[in-house]
């Protein structure tokens, strides 16, 4: 009887992580297929990059289907190592959608940039699995292992353009600085473990419950929490821990940069939220100061750093640093409304980033030799490809927070949440930084319509996958204000179920 009971529990554990298990099996099968087939002399050593990329897309779509049809809505599995709730459901769905989008937008890039490595798709799948596990992780050990698995895939992806010195440099830089941040994170975890004797998130929350009331904090606990926060802020590219990001993002192949900019933030932010608003909620007044400072730094560096950039990828990196600053404002609130604003901002930010990177990857000339690199290369895009220029303008306006586009709605909600938590200074700084960032976004639009390019290029037609991605994301960005209710209600429900 006991044995049967155990089997039943074990089975449910596996049901809970079925999308991750499915993706793991598919990845292994695709890897074997790639290794065996691409080295087959009888088949003439075929290049399987495109085939495996499409199979990866389909496996991500299937995993998405499995995620939304999960039999459990709330569950703790594998002896409290992983958790499933409304928050994990939302974040997992976002990770899978954004990874699919990143794969679709990189199809043509893989062909034209001679990245003839089928391992690219395998690495994207492996990092997606680790991100799914990271979102579900409910223990320091599972969290750290998931982060490391994700990071190892990213180091290789950053250096995947083997004949490019920049790519190799980016991979090395990412490896060294990523290992440093992982070390800081692990040290923080060990200090918290040393103080509490616990590694489970929920147990830590119970252990610290009421500690703010009785002033029973230990400096080691604060130091541990601070180091964990630094580790996460480093990986989230929040200032002042952002210095690695511009070089790594610029040196990596553009499709990899797109993937880095879109997907990992969701998973990292998810577990960061769970830690701060779950385990360390009773230390809110301690971590709020750190996030307040990082948020202001990120907004400042994001807004002013982007102004000085001449390369499009570097500009987008600084823009993403600024957006991380906005996300941190929402976490600072520590309320249901703040969490709701963060989730809403994150969803719309993903749509905007997918749109921008699809446009950047679409700007390739007819002979497939010239790619968009410098901001000045966008010159006269309004004449050579008016629809693309219009789309880019809409997205940039949205990123700048111009009404009635989606970016405005998300910022509006975020600032209201900040004011609801009496963070008036932060809200004011956010508004000011939004005004400053308008300058460099509108500068891009000015270049597209009024300035001559450094080299006259006519960009070719866009491939079908990218056109569909642009169609979907632009529709959401432009028409979101007509029907925002579903997303508002969903994020409210998730935030309330998590914090309420």
């Amino acid at each position: 009887m006991m044995g049967l009971h155990f089997i039943h529990l074990f089975e449910n554990d596996f049901y809970a992580l079925f999308p991750e298990l499915f993706l793991t099996c598919t990845t292994m099968l695709l890897l074997m297929f790639g290794v065996v087939w691409s080295t087959s002399k009888a088949e003439g050593y075929p290049i399987l990059t495109h085939t495996i990329a499409w199979l990866s897309v389909w496996s991500l779509v299937c995993a998405f289907g499995l995620t939304i049809h999960s039999p459990f809505s709330v569950m703790v599995s594998f002896y409290n190592t992983f958790v499933i709730d409304e928050l994990t459901f939302l974040l997992k769905a976002m990770v899978l959608c954004s990874a699919t989008a990143a794969m679709l937008m990189s199809m043509e890039y893989l062909k034209t940039s001679m990245l003839n490595i089928f391992e690219y798709s395998i690495l994207v799948l492996l990092s997606t699995i680790s991100m799914l596990l990271l979102i579900s992780s409910y223990d320091f050990i599972s969290m750290y292992l998931a982060i490391e698995m994700q990071s190892l895939c990213f180091y290789v992806l950053a250096a995947s353009k083997r004949h490019s010195e920049f790519s190799t440099e980016a991979g090395l830089k990412y490896f060294l600085l990523g290992a440093f941040s992982s070390g800081v994170l692990l040290f923080g975890c060990s200090l918290v473990y040393g103080y509490t004797g616990l590694t489970n998130f929920e147990d830590i929350a119970k252990c610290l419950a009421g500690s703010a009331l009785f002033q029973t904090h230990h400096s080691f606990l604060h130091l541990g929490m601070g180091l964990i926060m630094i580790g996460f802020l480093f990986k989230l590219t929040a200032a002042p821990f952002h210095f690695w990001a511009p070089d790594v993002y610029e040196g990596s192949p553009t499709s990899v940069t797109a993937f880095f900019a879109i997907t990992p933030k969701i998973a990292l932010l998810g577990v960061f939220l769970r830690l701060l608003l779950g385990s360390f909620y009773d230390l809110l007044f301690a971590w709020q100061y750190v996030l307040f400072f990082c948020s202001i730094c990120s907004l400042f560096i994001g807004a002013f750093g982007a102004m000085a950039q001449k390369k499009i990828k570097r500009l987008l990196v600084y823009s993403s640093i600024g957006h991380v600053g906005y996300l941190l404002i929402g976490i600072c609130c520590g309320t249901v409304e703040g969490l709701q604003a963060v989730l809403l901002y994150l969803i719309l930010y993903i749509f905007m980033t997918v749109n921008v990177f699809t446009i950047v990857l679409s700007c390739i000339d007819h002979s497939k030799t010239f790619r968009l690199k410098y901001i000045q290369d966008l010159g006269l895009l309004g004449q050579t490809h008016p629809v693309l220029a219009l789309t880019f303008s809409c997205t940039l306006f949205s990123m700048a927070g111009i009404p009635p586009l989606a970016g405005f709605c998300s910022k509006f909600y975020l600032f209201f949440a900040a004011m609801g938590s009496s963070l008036y200074g932060l809200a004011l700084f956010g508004v000011l930084s939004s005004v400053v960032s308008c300058f460099y976004y509108i500068r891009l639009i000015k270049i597209m319509y009024f300035e001559q390019p450094s080299q006259l290029v006519t960009y070719g037609a866009i491939d079908h996958e990218k056109a569909i991605l642009l169609g979907i994301t632009t529709t959401v960005i432009v028409f979101f204000f007509l029907c925002p209710h579903s997303l508002f209600l969903w994020t409210y429900k998730v935030a309330y179920m998590f914090l309420g």
């Binding site: 490809h385 629809v387 693309l388 789309t391 037609a461 866009i462 491939d463 079908h464 056109a467 569909i468 642009l470 169609g471 979907i472 632009t474 529709t475 028409f479 029907c483 209710h485 579903s486 209600l489 969903w490 409210y492 429900k493 309330y496 179920m497 309420g500």
Partner: protein, 80 residues
Amino acid sequence: MSATLIGASLGFGMQLYINALRKLPLLRNPWEHVFWTGVGAAAANMNAEWEAKLRKEVAELNKERQATNASFMESILKEK
């Protein structure tokens, strides 16, 4: 009905936009227009249903929240 119409027109418009992006004549590949019109209509209806479901769930959550707050306040008043 209005959700279907709005969704269908958004889907149709999206296919026109996709063709424009690809520098193709706007009505090239008409079956794709039909496909996206259908997808748009279905998505809008699903969204409307989802929204109604979410509204009900959120109303229940809010009721629960108010009840919890009320009982918490009562317990504080009793202690005093």
